[in-house]
Amino acid sequence: MVDTTEPLTQGNTGVTPRRSTYLFYRHTVAVRALHWLNAIIMLVMLMSGLQIFNAHPSLYWGNGADFDHPFISLTALGTQDNFHGVTKIGSWSFNTDGVLGASWHEGVKEVRGFPDWVTIPSDSPNLALGRLWHFAFAWLLVANGLAYFAYAFASGHFRTELAPTLKDFAHLPREIINHARLRFAKGEEAKHYNGIQRMTYFVVIFVLGPLIVLTGLTMSPTMDSAFPFLPWIFAGRQSARTIHFLCAFSFVGFFVIHIVMVILSGTWNNLRSMITGRYAIEVEDKNV
């Protein structure tokens, strides 16, 4: 696995141990390709999904929609000439003017759920095009996801690198403290995912991924006739729509944390490893 060795001199006092780094082959070409494809597909899915959501920016529970009691809704309050955007969650109400409920599009203030800079296409309402993009990329998302599953099971990527172990659960408190103090694994330890990473990837890959696909399919009336258990397991089409939305924002939350962690634990090293596959490991040279 060692490709090159690049000695890194850290002064020559003789007190400081000499450190050296070498490049470790961390991500296979399959993982890298599927990762970046997935990133593009997920971005299109999110942005076209928000365009679809804008057609009726309220969420409910159950099979039918209880229009007067949405669980979440993005609306506008005021008069036709003077309104502001509001986000309602249950009985709470927040002023989210300019971003959620009402925002600016080409210099004109409009009543719209999500703003133009997060929807595909950016003008809204454009439900027809939003659906076209969403349903076309849904095929790519599933194809990419299945390719990843096939690769990860066949290659042992899941078993050896991603499956959480009992030890991970035992070490969880310590891991949380290390994360909170922004202490990241160094040296040989950095070659493997830590417990929190394994658990997070497990939840994202095996829970959020399938859940967002299945709740998406549940919103299709023809799929519900083919698989009547779909609306049943999700407690109704409107519940499925709500879960679909919550999954989407869990992915957004995962993405934000993922990016923060990439930056804090070494932006360039991480980026290089996901592009060229090679990750620099720094070791103390014991031969001094």
Binding site: I52, F53, A55, H56, S58, Y60, N63, G64, A65, F67, D116, W117, I120, P121, S122, D123, L127, A128, L129, R131, L132, W133, F135, A136, W139, M219, S220, P221, T222, M223, D224, S225, A226, F227, P228, P231, G236, R237, Q238, R241
Partner: protein, 265 residues
């Protein structure tokens, strides 16, 4: 200090400019006809895959009386409000009749009373709007397959087109001063969906005559499809081999505005 804030404002303006350019570029790209063309091809794949799973005639879930929404949401045209339609409303729709023609061996004219005299189907189903909301209601009507069986479709009939009494929008004036009437709502299903057991010409909602806002006196119910595929105020049914020559050529009013013809998703 000022140098730094200059630089900052320069960076902010550059970022805003790049953002605007990127946004405009994406918007243009997202709406390019060739892009829409490629994405539209995927609709065929989606339809074929869904048909594979849903078989010929898998039934949409049906619900119990307890699930019926207290108020069934009305959407789209709430009242055609044409002179012709208002005369029918005043007369209790006793003269309303549906013409069945096109590629059939036996063209028909069925009055509301004749439709009501035929075997009926009652179903409590979930109405799914393309916008995302749903409503559960109880519909009673004549299975469309019975009407089609009477009319005897010819071998080359592939689609059933529904013509409605509701004009979409106001009359406009063209450049030479002629009044241009707005198009009437229309929709189409293929024969598989049209002969599905839950596809009915509904005349009752929740045990009462169809209210005007829900398409009185007759609306289509196609329970494996989205709401826009179920036209209200149905006046005429035509069997065709292609809908390319009808109105915008896409098979329905909303399809002509860019929506997908396949409404099962």
């Amino acid at each position: 200090m000022s140098e730094r804030s200059d630089r900052r404002s320069f960076l902010a303006r550059t970022a805003a400019l790049l953002g605007t350019v990127a946004l405009a570029g994406c918007t243009d790209f997202a709406q390019q006809p060739w892009v829409i063309g490629i994405l539209g091809e995927v609709e065929n794949l989606t339809r074929r895959a869904q048909r594979l799973f849903a078989g010929g005639h898998a039934l949409a879930p049906e619900y119990s009386k307890a699930d019926i929404a207290p108020t069934f949401r009305a959407n789209g045209t709430l009242n055609p409000n044409t002179n012709d339609y208002n005369v029918h409303v005043a007369g209790g729709f006793k003269d309303w009749a549906i013409d069945v023609g096109g590629l059939v061996d036996k063209p028909l004219k069925l009055s509301l009373a004749e439709l009501r005299a035929m075997p009926a189907r009652t179903q409590i189903t979930r109405h799914d709007c393309v916008e995302g909301w749903s409503c559960i209601g109880e519909w009673t009507g004549t299975p469309l397959q019975l009407v089609l069986a009477m009319a005897k479709p010819k071998a080359d009939a592939r689609y059933v087109v529904f013509y409605c009494a509701d004009p979409m929008g106001e009359a406009t004036m063209d450049a030479s001063g002629n009044v241009v009437q707005p198009p009437f709502y229309y929709e189409s299903l293929d024969l598989l969906e049209a002969t599905h057991p839950q596809t009915i010409l509904a005349y009752e909602l929740n045990g009462r005559n169809l209210p005007v806002e829900h398409g009185a006196p007759i609306r289509l119910r196609a329970e494996r499809q989205l709401g826009y595929k179920m036209p209200k105020y149905v006046r005429r049914i035509e069997l065709v081999s292609s809908f390319a020559r009808i109105q915008g050529g896409k098979g329905g009013y909303w399809e002509d505005q860019g929506y997908q013809w396949y409404g099962g998703i």
